[in-house]
Symmetry: C2
Subunit: 104 residues, 2 copies
Amino acid sequence: MDDDKVFRALGDPTRRKLLDLLCEKNGQTLGQLCENLDMARQSATQHLGILEEANLVSTVRRGREKLHFINPVPLHEVYERWVRKFERQRLNLLHDLKKELEGE
Amino acid sequence: MDDDKVFRALGDPTRRKLLDLLCEKNGQTLGQLCENLDMARQSATQHLGILEEANLVSTVRRGREKLHFINPVPLHEVYERWVRKFERQRLNLLHDLKKELEGE
DNA sequence: TTGACATGCAGGTAAATGCTTGCATATTGT
DNA sequence: ACAATATGCAAGCATTTACCTGCATGTCAA
């Protein structure tokens, strides 16, 4: 997995909204997603491309339509490999702060 | 919490590295952090400002120094409020995919 | 086949982003 | 006081980004 692509993809509010839309109803077409987006179709296509690059969305063609499916695996991996590390330190922080203020 | 600020802040690799550095040793000064960054001090200051805006980093002045402390709470909240929602759907996805391919 | 529909491709633009340099301010130790 | 150290402020620049428009391709249905 490419951490950087995932984080970058999540950094844009439109792309997070796309994931939200797919979470509500998975397998939507480009056209369906655009109806909720207030921007040109092509802009949405580009955002979806970035999500696909990050492996957060997979697509399947059905005739002239393109169906979009959310893939939560990279999100889970990011959480496991990156976020949890910081969570574990939560309880130490007050201690660290005290220590520093006392002059280390 | 401001989801957008948190996600944007995490979208940059330098800022994630700063969090990594603070995770290894909490309470570092600006100067200490810069030693590991390969960019001008001022660039690091700007990144730290963005992390602070997102409430991912808190600072305390000690004389002429500025100590930086990581704050994992926003990370945890993002996970709870946003990531978990997608994880819960994991098991449904294969089913959704099948359904769509069969013609909905 | 032909017209309507869904998406793909490519180039252009304005704004945001990341980084820089130069100078200012504030604190420390001698 | 003064020199060294640590950080703050602000303007400038190059790249990236998000958005658009115009045209091309592919698919369906009558």
